[in-house]
């Protein structure tokens, strides 16, 4: 849209979220919605990140703390299971890691260039809490 002329868009700077109609938004998951190019869902803020979260599924207990407290709707939970991170929308704030209650944490922050498989392979061991 970047080069759109004044005569090429909707009057009133009105934006529509979806292509066509959507009957039941609250009952339609994001992957089943037809977003327009104007929904920020279609955009990415991946380049905002300095660090990124990596998800080690083996340690996850699906508590959904990361889902509820993620400000960027970037924790993908389906059927009550945490299944991954939406890396287009994650800004790398690190809240998910902070709220992760497992030991070791199932989410940790790494430099943006870190390799996911490598880091999961070298995931830290369980921390023993000092008494």
């Amino acid at each position: 849209m970047a080069n759109t002329g004044w005569d090429e868009f909707e009057i009133g700077a009105m934006l529509r979220t979806f292509e066509g109609s959507i009957d039941d938004i609250a009952g339609t998951l994001q992957e089943d919605r037809k977003y327009t190019e104007n929904s920020s869902f279609s955009a990415s803020v991946a380049d905002w990140r300095i660090e990124k979260p990596i998800f080690a599924k083996d340690y996850c207990i699906d508590c959904q703390f990361c889902w509820i407290y993620c400000p960027d709707i970037s924790i993908i939970s389906r059927d009550k299971k945490m299944i991954g991170i939406d890396m287009d929308h994650c800004k790398g704030c690190g809240i998910c890691v902070e709220v992760c209650p497992t030991n070791p944490k199932s989410l940790l922050m790494f430099p943006e260039q870190a390799d996911e498989e490598t880091e999961i392979a070298q995931w830290p061991a369980k921390e023993t809490k000092e008494k």
Binding site: A26, Q30, S39, I68, P71
Partner: protein
């Protein structure tokens, strides 16, 4: 009346289909969007939303993008409440006239605004909406500062906070006035429901939002929204700060029904000293100088007194 969404636990809640989208332009770690998600996900009903000018508004509807999956309107800084009130009036008119396109829906009208847009510039508009009895919910994203314009004090900014228009300096400890008790003021309108919420206590929040959406009439919700930029803490610590705010009782969680019946909805098992809450934020850093430490003591006394007051109100059932 639509059926209230059943949310027994967080796993169940996590099946919600979000109606607020990522790649918005809020700061990393911003609590605003956590609150918005918890509010929107509390219901399956259709929504008509507004935002007053502020961080949330300028970060979620920046042409050519919108982060909103429900109908949403922004007019100005002061009038988001009246915008949804107008929409609600139209809904009632069209309903009575039989002209709704989807007459079987049961939409909720929710307006979001910051503390500047609610406590200060939008105060009159919100008061008007509350007094007139519109079936709307006004949610304050209370970060105690004009964050959108770079950190000026609002009437929600607490004593001792360093804001850009009430800065701490060689001879000043920053903001001199205590924050306005907006929940009490709004409850005084005799509205059916007003409450203070925090995003860390999501279950309490969802319960209150659902209660607010179920009642007939105006609802006022004040949500603490720790601001990583203006409170000066690391973005990853947003939820830690929220925990400190509720567990130190700086932001006690309670509700006021029909303008008078007060219920405390969260009693921390271990109450955290206010000092810990203050120490976690750069905006209060100067209070830890020797000459201002008395202010920390006063902070604690004030918080204790307020907690005692809330408890007495609850006990008195008046």
């Amino acid at each position: 009346m639509s059926e209230m969404k059943k949310i027994k636990n967080l796993k169940e809640f996590s099946t919600s289909a979000d109606r607020f989208e990522g790649a918005n332009l809020l700061c990393p770690g911003c609590a605003h969007s956590i609150i918005v998600r918890e509010v929107l996900n509390a219901t399956n009903d259709d929504l008509v939303l507004s935002a007053s000018t502020g961080c949330l508004e300028v970060c979620t509807a920046v042409y050519p993008y919108t982060s909103w999956d429900a109908s949403w309107i922004h007019i100005g800084f002061e009038n988001g409440s009246t915008a949804v009130a107008g929409a609600e009036a139209m809904y009632n008119a069209l309903k009575n006239k039989g002209r709704l396109k989807q007459p079987d829906r049961n939409p909720k009208f929710v307006s979001f605004a910051g503390d500047g847009a609610s406590y200060d510039i939008g105060f009159q508009w919100i008061s008007g909406c509350m007094e007139r009895g519109h079936n709307i919910m006004h949610v304050v994203l209370d970060n105690e500062v004009y964050a959108n314009t770079g950190g000026q004090r609002s009437s929600s900014t607490p004593i001792g906070s360093s804001a850009t228009t009430s800065p701490a300096g060689r001879v000043s400890y920053g903001e001199k006035k205590n924050k306005k008790d907006m929940v009490a003021i709004m409850a005084s309108h005799g509205i059916p429901y007003s409450a203070q919420v925090a995003p860390n206590k999501w279950k309490d929040m969802v319960k209150k939002i659902q209660h607010g959406m179920a009642v007939d009439g105006p609802v006022f919700i004040n949500a603490v929204s720790p601001c990583t930029t203006e409170w000066k803490f690391d973005p990853k610590d947003t939820m830690m700060l929220t925990d400190l705010s509720t567990d130190s009782l700086v932001f006690p969680l309670y509700e006021i029904i029909d303008g008078h019946e007060l219920n405390i909805t969260y009693r921390p098992k271990n109450v955290v000293p206010v000092e810990e809450y203050l120490a976690a934020q750069g905006r209060f850093k100067h209070l830890f100088k020797d000459e201002y430490k008395y202010l920390i003591k006063e902070w604690q006394e004030r918080v204790d007194a307020n907690w005692a007051y809330l408890n007495r109100r609850e006990e008195a059932r008046v």
